[in-house]
Symmetry: C2
Amino acid sequence: MSSLLVVGSIALDTIKMPGGKIHKDVPGGSCSYFIHSAHFFNPVRVVGVVGRDFPKKHLDGFKKCKADLDGLQILPGETFRWHGTYHKNMNNRDTDALHFGVLGSFDPVLPKKYLDSEYIFLACSQPELQMKVLDQVKGKPLAVCDTIEIYIKDSRPALDKLIRRCQGMIVNDAEARLIAGEDNLVKAALDIHKKYRLQFLVLKKGEHGGFLVDKDGVTPFPAFPLAKIADPTGAGDCFAGGFMGTIAKAKKTDAKTLRAAVANATAVASYACEGVALSSLTKLTAAQVRARANGFVKMTRLG
Amino acid sequence: MSSLLVVGSIALDTIKMPGGKIHKDVPGGSCSYFIHSAHFFNPVRVVGVVGRDFPKKHLDGFKKCKADLDGLQILPGETFRWHGTYHKNMNNRDTDALHFGVLGSFDPVLPKKYLDSEYIFLACSQPELQMKVLDQVKGKPLAVCDTIEIYIKDSRPALDKLIRRCQGMIVNDAEARLIAGEDNLVKAALDIHKKYRLQFLVLKKGEHGGFLVDKDGVTPFPAFPLAKIADPTGAGDCFAGGFMGTIAKAKKTDAKTLRAAVANATAVASYACEGVALSSLTKLTAAQVRARANGFVKMTRLG
């Protein structure tokens, strides 16, 4: 076990499914998904903010995951809300509305006991805010960041500076293309890995799996095959949770650990897609996660 | 070694690249790519047709692959021509023109010596024509078919009949979705495998790899990671060639052989993408193919 810190959003999501069904104010946000996936491997220290309207039952859910919530601010005002609609194939979605609420003026202040954190995941937010977390931490943590298109376009100098201070990065295909200015995803991943002198980079492609790039080169991997997807919201953050949880638990990032991290991350992310919001994750046992990760390793072995 | 028969198109392609460069009348068609990939594992008996305009050097290329050309008809008239333009990302393309020439009235008559063929690949053409090949063969060959959207839409009863007579199928994502009437690719692959009682099905997703479905379930696999793609034309037919060549050589379709076939198929298909038309395949050695296939097996091993 190590100390694993996550900073990111905690939200109440309203998700409209292709059939028209609406799930209103379900728990969401990168932190929530990260907590509910990383804890199968390593408990999480949380830096985030919610409004006083955030239901206690969701906080209890975090506590059940043995999350340390001392860095979670509960402020007067409303919790961040995301409204989205999935297209028929569940691979595309539209953001219908964003209500930032208390997240709009979020100032991530780390409790003293968090300052020695060894593993840090900076879920996507303004690079300046992500940097502020790194600035507070003592020692030499292993930091991994995510980002989204708006910051790649509008905050590039800050983002560049941030990535240079990170050891790893987990991004999706569209983000990698934008960062690298390169359409070929393999080249984009290799370019980013090299340019920012990262130890490792994971480029996620949703239902198509992704690439891990490290000093040994490119490891392409498929997604876990799901014949039915209930809700892919947060799958990327679950992938990050499973990945970071694995390396934090192992206390290393050698080739073998990174590949095990990919398998664990794929397993929890696939479970996340089988239920709406956190619903399948909250019912999950560590044994189930282990079984699916092992199954995935076996299933993808071609010789 | 076994007797491996392919029936399909032999073409002269004119390919317009994203940069504007045009490759005129380069050798193409499913048969050509299949011959140039399968021969690394097992030689091929060819059933096809070209016009008298088909350059001798391309026929010599087939012979170099130890292809049996006794089933290749050379008729008065023009060889089938395909004109296509690739989009910027090389993953999409438009068909600009099709000139069927002698392929338009192609009647696949098998030389007597082909009638005992043990492995048969029916590259995409009218299901009635594919069936005509099966009708001539004696014994119980292992037949695998491909198809395209037009026949799924316009010749469904004949196609259904054909697939039921095949032991395997190799199709792409769009085709699988259409055949199954199902958007989720995993479910589409499982449904097709079950409905037509196939021994195995490969669903190809281009740069995203694909799925193998057999009695053991779903094996998802990524594509070989290429940082540069010169020309993806024929990659799917090369995949089929590497796949069929492997099982014909092994003379079996057990779980281990099918997975080795996926690795070999992925290796030759990736080489095909590294040069325009057949150019990279003609320079390739069996040792290089073996090395890439082994590298791919190792590279995708997560634990």
